[in-house]
């Protein structure tokens, strides 16, 4: 009786009200959930959704996207698998954005924002983007490739209302074109400009003029070719900046320019985030001390030239830091200073500075323990270290039960506990047991199946797991697949997991976004079986020896191990732009 009444009430709920209510739902997951309630809610939600997030660009195609969300304004797309960042995916694998832009342009979508991660963006797509969407406001490209400064010039000249152009760690072919001067004089709406990843020179005069005519500019990140003098002039013109990425930060500390810079910096009261220092002289660092006191985010991870003591002196001023990205040149001692000073620290990333040398400056488990002891709000860590111990990890787990992301990477992928020579199972086990809200975990070091048992048992909220050189047998992977109910992305490399683990719970993969397995024990036969049984999955095999190979070759034998397998759930079947070396089963 109650249910009946309830249902009838819901049917008469006007759609405008529903729409208004849905406007308050900003998270994609909430919106997805809401759209599953009933058909009318699905319909209301679909017409009111303006921001869409697609975690795997091949899970769906542009036509379906446009058909479902005709009022789309902001699109986020991710392309290649995560391990593509580390050269494990050959070039040309895919992830092209052009079909998406083309489809949206044809359908008259009023696109305003586009965020792409690990996709291939060509100059043609940037030009098409610039010309097709008159209200286009924001372009964010993270770890993308395939475009040059010609494409950027097209964006600059055609997007009249451009607010944000954010290029993070992309591979851009810098043709030394004058893309910055392509911003028309009428462009005054820029709020965020980040070209730190470009390698070529820019027209600094044009840059200064651009900064001067954009009063709303809040975020500016320069590349390493912009000299200190120009930075000083920019700061004078734009003291309202809140996020600054310096260009080259070397100069004679006694020169007039430098003194002018110091004064300019003192005037910038709003800067909360500092990065860059791609080319830095340690003696110039005192110029930024005045702003350090109010910084919440500091990224010094591109500056291996700063010595540990200079870093420490700098850190001592940064009491309100919440996000810190540094190199391991800081050393354990420096991390101790961070622990004592930065009580608000939430996210810490320590990158390796020395990939090939013997490296005495690397950090060890002591630094991590110190940080965990000193920073109670720590919830996200990425730590590259020389060595680690179980005891340290257990201590860290006790000190910081709030981890959301925990990524530990030992420079030697199978190093055991430095003190006891045992595998690091117990340490990671303590982490997953203690951190109930852990959603992302990367493990490294010497690990057996035991750690996966712990992960399966305790890591209930885990969504992304990265495994390398770990485990003894299929049981490890089975523990994870059976235990982690919310697992979305699993990536495994160089671990002895085979068909038994892969095929044990095939339905699981439809609840996950993707699975990557490379250099494991999975064979072609296993992958074929999986592909046959699960039509909603694309099982892609990357063959690196494809050239000149005919049918019936030895490599087509089902007993052969596959080098790289990437599978993902999809609504649209095998993709049409797969190159020759990718074989969709």
């Amino acid at each position: 009786m109650c249910l009946f009444q309830f249902q009838s009430v819901m049917n008469y709920f006007p759609e405008e009200v529903l729409e208004h209510v849905f406007d308050f739902l900003t998270s994609h997951r909430d919106r997805n959930t809401v759209s599953l309630v009933c058909k009318s809610w699905y319909s209301v939600e679909r017409f009111s959704r303006e921001k869409v997030f697609i975690g795997n660009c091949y899970a769906v195609n542009p036509e379906r996207l446009i058909a479902r969300f005709p009022r789309l304004r902001s699109l986020t797309l991710k392309g290649k698998p995560h391990f593509a960042d580390f050269n494990l995916v050959p070039d040309g694998w895919g992830g092209h954005v052009y079909p998406w832009i083309e489809a949206m342009a044809k359908s008259g979508i009023n696109l305003e924002e586009l965020k792409l991660k690990r996709m291939v963006v060509s100059d043609e797509s940037l030009e098409l983007l610039a010309k097709s969407f008159p209200n286009f406001k924001s372009l964010v490209l993270v770890s993308c490739e395939g475009f040059t400064t010609v494409g950027l010039a097209a964006i600059a000249s055609n997007c009249r209302f451009l607010r944000e152009l954010d290029l993070q760690e992309n591979e851009v072919d810098d043709l030394k074109g004058k893309w910055l001067s392509c911003f028309p004089e009428s462009c005054t709406s820029l709020v965020s400009l980040n070209f730190a990843c470009l390698k070529g020179e820019v027209n600094v005069v044009a840059l200064e003029r651009l900064v001067a005519r954009c009063p709303n500019l809040r975020s500016l990140r320069l590349n390493h070719t912009v000299p200190l003098e120009v930075l000083q002039k920019i700061l004078v013109r734009a003291p309202q900046l809140s996020d600054l990425g310096t260009g080259s930060f070397t100069h004679d500390p006694d020169s007039e320019t430098f003194i002018k810079l110091k004064n300019a910096m003192k005037n910038c009261h709003s800067i909360r985030s500092l990065s860059g220092f791609l080319d830095v002289n340690g003696r110039c660092l005192p110029a930024i001390y005045p702003i350090c006191i109010s910084l919440t985010s500091l990224n010094l991870s591109y500056a291996p030239g700063i010595f540990s003591n200079e870093l420490i002196k700098l850190i001592c001023h940064c009491k309100k830091i919440e996000r810190l990205w540094i190199l391991d040149t800081i050393g354990d001692k420096g991390l101790g200073v961070v622990a004592n000073t930065c009580k608000e620290l939430q996210e810490l990333r320590v990158f390796p500075s020395d990939l090939y040398g013997v490296g005495n400056t690397a950090v060890t488990e002591e630094g991590l323990v110190a940080i965990s002891a000193g920073c109670p709000k720590l919830n996200s860590i990425l730590y590259f270290c020389q060595q680690m111990t179980n005891a340290a990890l257990i201590t860290v787990a006790k000190n910081c039960p709030n981890f959301i992301r925990f990524r530990l990477c030992t420079l030697d992928p199978i190093v055991p506990d430095a003190v006891t020579n045992q595998p690091l199972d117990e340490g990671f086990g303590a982490i997953v047991q203690s951190c109930k809200r852990l959603t992302r975990l990367s493990v490294s070091g010497l690990l057996t199946d035991q750690v996966f048992l712990y992960i399966g048992m305790y890591a209930e909220q885990l969504e992304m797991l990265s495994i390398a050189f770990a485990g003894d047998s299929d049981k490890g992977m089975l523990y994870v697949l059976n235990g982690c109910k919310k697992l979305k992305k699993l990536e495994i490399r160089d671990s002895p997991f085979g068909n038994m683990a892969l095929l044990s719970d095939m339905g699981k993969y439809e609840t996950m976004r993707s699975l990557w397995m490379s250099s494991c024990e999975v064979t072609l036969g296993g992958c074929k079986t999986l592909a046959e049984k699960m039509p909603w999955l694309n099982v892609e095999i990357i063959n690196e020896h494809e050239a000149g190979e005919g049918e019936g070759e030895a490599s087509c034998d089902d007993r052969h191990r596959v080098e790289k397998m990437y599978l993902y759930r999809t609504l649209v079947g095998p993709r049409k732009d797969a190159p020759d070396f990718v074989w969709t089963l």
């Binding site: 391990f83 580390f86 050269n87 494990l88 050959p90 070039d91 040309g92 770890s143 760690e169 992309n170 990843c197 070397t250 791609l278 080319d279 591109y302 291996p304 030239g305 010595f307 990158f351 390796p352 020395d354 990939l355 090939y356 040398g357 013997v358 590259f384 990477c409 420079l411 030697d412 992928p413 199978i414 190093v415 055991p416 990367s442 057996t448 390398a468 050189f469 485990g471 003894d472 047998s473 160089d494 671990s495 002895p496 250099s519 690196e544 020896h545 494809e546 050239a547 000149g548 190979e549 005919g550 070759e553 030895a554 490599s555 007993r559 052969h560 191990r561 190159p579 020759d580 070396f581």
Partner: protein, 419 residues
């Protein structure tokens, strides 16, 4: 030690000899026996190897060893683990050779090649192995890492980034002169997991910093390598090599699979039998040439400039067919010409050089003036070169004649005075 030996005796026949570490305490006798009976030898187990339990995943627990006996061919767990110790005895190479004897003879060739290589400084142990090569059903070496820590120095194995040929196991040995590093340092593909952008930025920033010295080979410098006819690009780290020869041999091996594929007339057997030397001939012969794109966007032939200059200016590599590369000039001359092309707008006399080049090297060569130069200037330079040609001929002629006259006059005077 006792426990380890017990362990060995219990698993007796199933135990495979696995020489993970090139510790000098391993007797040469042990290693030589391995060479004869690689897969069946049960003794000569390196005790320390079992104790430290280092090695690949799956190679740690004793019960795993029993699986090894079932394998006749070398499989994942039998990845040849090359001892990479800074040891003085040459036995190390033998042991690698033996451990890898289950692989294709490609490795043997490279070991021989290694001993010929002049860049490896064996006694310092400053060499790195690229242990790669994956053959389905055979040894899969890709992604091997062995880490040894004898007295604090860290050794590991480096494997070439994209060089995974399936038909031959190409275990490359590349030596570098890292005089400061007491131990060889090597890396696995994609480890540590850092984006290449960050890796490259470590290189550029550390280079410009004067205080950072004594560091062997900072960072990495990845450039794309493409080959005509290959299905996809690869990336190589130029900092891993210190001479052209190493780079070219590495590239040869990397792309050998594609070359073989193209020229092998009959299916699989041909591939396996195609020898390394034939391969080298293929690549060194007029079949393919190695070219690179420099910072200015010009395509040059690799090998003209000193290595350091090459590294600094190389953006991309391309292996093109010899016939396509005929038009490319020598890089140094190209550099000169490019410089002169720009200058020629201001100093038309430099166009003379361009004219010479055009006449003698390539008829249709047009120097790149850069994108921001209007077409009319280019035309002007062409016209000016013709004028200049004519003018300079006339000028030279006059000069010569003048000289003759002067000489004649002077001589006369002289003659007059002398008399």
């Amino acid at each position: 030690m006792a426990s380890a030996s017990d362990c060995i005796s219990q698993t007796g026949p199933g135990l495979k000899e696995r020489n993970y570490f090139g510790f000098s305490d391993c007797s040469s006798v042990d290693r030589s026996t391995v060479s004869s009976a690689h897969l069946e030898s049960k003794n000569n187990m390196n005790m320390k190897a079992t104790e430290l339990r280092l090695g690949l995943p799956g190679s740690q627990s004793p019960e795993r060893d029993s699986d090894f006996s079932l394998l006749n061919s070398v499989k994942l767990d039998e990845k040849p683990l090359f001892p990479l110790a800074p040891s003085k005895d040459r036995i190390c190479t033998l042991s690698q050779k033996t451990v890898a004897s289950g692989n294709k003879r490609g490795f043997d060739d490279t070991v021989d090649g290694f001993s010929e290589s002049k860049t490896t400084n064996f006694s310092e142990g400053n060499w790195m192995f690229n242990a790669t090569g994956s053959d389905p059903g055979q040894a899969k070496l890709a992604g091997n890492v062995i880490s040894i820590r004898p007295s604090g120095t860290q050794l590991a194995i480096k494997s070439e980034v994209p060089a995974k040929t399936l038909q031959e196991s190409t275990n490359k040995i590349i030596g570098t002169n890292t005089a400061n590093a007491p131990a060889a340092k090597a890396q696995v593909v994609g480890w540590p997991p850092i984006r290449s952008f960050r890796k490259n930025s470590l290189v550029t920033t550390s280079k410009t910093n004067d205080e950072v010295d004594g560091k062997p080979g900072p960072g990495a410098l990845f450039v794309k390598v493409s080959m005509d006819g290959a299905p996809y690009l690869r990336k190589v780290d130029l900092r891993m090599y210190s001479a052209y020869k190493e780079l070219s041999s590495a590239l040869e091996k990397m792309f050998s699979c594609f070359t073989i594929g193209q020229c092998g007339p009959q299916g699989a057997p041909t591939r396996k039998m195609l020898s390394e030397s034939k391969l080298r001939d293929l690549l060194h012969g007029s079949e393919y040439v190695l070219t690179y794109e420099d910072k200015d966007g010009d395509w040059m032939l690799v090998g003209d400039v000193p290595w350091e200059m090459f590294i600094a200016s190389c953006k991309k590599l391309k292996i093109m067919k010899g016939s396509d590369a005929i038009g490319l000039g020598s890089s140094s001359y190209q550099v000169l010409l490019h410089f002169k092309a720009k200058k020629s707008l201001m100093y038309p006399c430099f166009v003379w050089d361009l004219a010479v080049y055009q006449c003698f090297y390539k008829e249709s060569f047009r120097p790149d003036y850069g994108s921001d130069v209007p077409e009319c200037f280019v035309l002007m330079s062409d016209i000016s070169f013709i004028c200049l040609l004519a003018f300079s001929c006339v000028f030279l002629e006059c000069l010569l004649r003048l000289r003759l006259y002067l000489l004649f006059i002077l001589n006369l005077d002289f003659l007059v005075e002398a008399q």
